[in-house]
């Protein structure tokens, strides 16, 4: 019986899946995906499996650009609350609705300092280089515009692009109790 990795491309999203998209811990080393593991990144999941699986997705260029416009302080653009609403509508259409009262945060990360978060619903790489997201036994490459929805209470470490000074992240938090 195949033991599937707890990561798939979310339904309704298109992401190219290369062998180095996900690295798997292999003793002290990291290995690329085998062919069947790569195929399994597109497998359908039951609702119970969905909760326990990392779901990869891509945010549209329109929404990414809106976030950047905010940073560039263009006065006639939408404010962050309006962008957060648009992001919520996007995920809702995709069948991946944000939790009620989810909190969306735009973070400029010092790329040389790994960022650790444990209570994230999801993360989007809004920067211009690939970042690495590391969780137990897995390393995921998130290219510009890509992100993932995390299983609840799964801790992740976010490592910025090696050749960038700073990186822009969109963090989506579970509502605080």
């Amino acid at each position: 019986m195949t033991a599937y990795l707890p990561v798939v491309v979310a339904q309704g999203f298109h992401l190219p899946v290369s062998a180095d998209r996900v690295l798997v811990a292999d003793g002290a080393e990291w290995r690329t995906l085998a062919a069947e593991e790569r195929t399994a990144l597109s497998r359908p999941l039951t609702p119970a499996e969905l909760e326990l699986t990392i779901l990869l997705f891509t945010l549209t260029a329109r929404l990414r650009n809106a976030c950047w416009a905010l940073l560039e302080l263009t006065s006639d653009g939408p404010n962050f609350d309006a962008i957060s609403v648009e992001i919520g509508k996007f995920f809702s259409f995709k069948g991946l609705p944000l939790p009620d009262r989810a909190h969306v945060e735009l973070v400029v990360q010092d790329a040389s300092v790994p960022l650790s978060r444990t209570v994230l619903w999801g993360i989007v790489n809004l920067g211009e280089g690939s970042l690495t997201l590391e969780t137990t036994g897995l390393r995921l490459a998130l290219r510009p515009g890509e992100g993932c929805r995390l299983p609840r209470d799964v801790g992740v470490q976010i490592v910025g692009p090696p050749n960038e000074a700073a990186n822009l992240l969109l963090l989506i938090h579970w509502p605080q109790a």
């Binding site: 549209t60 509508k89 259409f93």
Partner: protein, 379 residues
């Protein structure tokens, strides 16, 4: 039926060649591998037939289609323009239009398009993972890169481009990605076709009851995005239903373009003539025979109108329109489903609802009306 009882001509479709240089999986053209070309003599006779028929009673659109129109050289259209000028010296009567896959566009084509003020519709299905899945060459290669190169040439030449995107089941998950694609490529005049069951395309990925809801959700989301852009995108699937909702209701005995005899005239590359849905050109059925009703070289309009084949066809289509009027609550806005879709899906023109009706007529109307009402409330 007399000449004055049919038409007026609204759309003339001329097929310079049935050949298409690409091989889309959902194509309805039966002879797209044939490299036959319309002879200049046939083109002369086609225009002579049209302008002497009595059908030309108002300006109309001449659409070069039913095969890739840019497979024939630009000189074909210079010849056509010279012939047309004999009948339309001011250029006010005929608006020419290409429906093209844009893979063969060159600066020379752009010059021709500008010279003859030809409108251009490009068929493009969105980002590569959607477009290249269906619109491929005969060797299986995706065509998007070539299409985008063609669109860039057109835009650089300041030629307005409207696009037609065929929606398949796969597309319905990606309204946001489609919007991104249009914005990135400077496309602001959009029309959606649904993958239809027509001719050789015997099935559609959009069949199935769940597709109706998915289609409605897709269109609702796309309109939400596109109509709130600054400036808003033009989306045919909003503008046409909205115009129908706000316009005159269609009454008993009235027929709309595709079911009105000789409002559309289709001329094949060998001069064969048909009317009603352009998709019928080049096809036949055991019961009706060929849907070509004559040839521009040999048959006058009165002789076609007097033929038992035309009369049987028109009678069946009229019965289908009447059935729509009696049974469909959208009739006052739609005027009856396209005869081609009825025939291909239901096996007879004397029938009503089709997949095309459910998606492209009913769902579009409902969603557009909903947006219209919302925008009115907000205003």
């Amino acid at each position: 039926m007399q000449t004055g009882d049919v038409g007026p001509l609204e759309l003339l479709v001329i097929q310079p060649t049935p050949f298409c240089n690409i091989h889309c999986s959902y194509c309805y053209l039966p002879n797209r591998q044939s490299t036959r070309r319309m002879a200049r003599d046939t083109l002369e006779r086609a225009f002579e037939w049209v302008f002497s028929s009595g059908l030309v009673r108002r300006p109309f659109t001449l659409l070069w289609h039913a095969g890739e129109p840019m497979v024939v050289p630009p000189s074909f259209y210079d010849d056509a323009a010279a012939i047309l000028a004999r009948y339309d010296s001011t250029g006010d009567l005929v608006t020419q239009s290409f429906q093209t896959n844009a893979t063969l566009i060159t600066p020379e084509w752009c010059e021709l398009i500008r010279r003859h003020r030809i409108r251009v519709g490009v068929s493009v299905d969105g980002p590569a993972f959607l477009h290249d899945a269906r619109r491929r060459t005969r060797s299986g290669q995706g065509t998007l890169a070539r299409v985008l190169k063609g669109i860039r040439l057109l835009r650089d030449a300041e030629i307005h481009v409207h696009v037609i995107t065929v929606l398949t089941a796969d597309s319905l998950s990606y309204p946001d990605e489609l919007l991104d694609f249009y914005l990135e490529n400077g496309l602001d005049d959009i029309a959606f076709n649904v993958e239809e069951i027509e001719g050789p395309n015997k099935t559609s990925s959009l069949q199935g009851i769940e597709m109706q809801e998915r289609f409605r959700r897709f269109l609702d989301r796309f309109l939400d995005l596109a109509l709130h852009m600054d400036p808003p995108l033009r989306v045919r699937e909003f503008e046409c239903p909205a115009a129908s909702a706000l316009g005159k209701r269609i009454g008993a005995g009235e027929r709309v373009q595709e079911s009105k005899p000789f409002a559309i005239v289709n001329v094949g590359c060998d001069g064969e003539l048909s009317t009603y849905s352009p998709e019928l050109l080049g096809l036949s059925s055991p019961r009706h025979g060929g849907f070509a009703l004559g040839n521009v070289a040999t048959d006058s309009l009165p002789s076609v109108l007097a033929s038992p084949r035309f009369q049987a066809l028109d009678d069946e289509i009229a019965r289908g329109v009447e059935m729509c009027r009696q049974q469909c609550r959208y009739f006052a806005f739609c005027g009856g489903g396209p005869p081609g879709n009825k025939f291909f899906e239901n096996g007879t023109f004397a029938s009503t609802e089709t997949l095309f009706c459910r998606l492209h007529k009913q769902a579009c109307f409902d969603v557009a009306l909903d947006h219209l009402e919302r925008s009115t409330v907000q205003a």
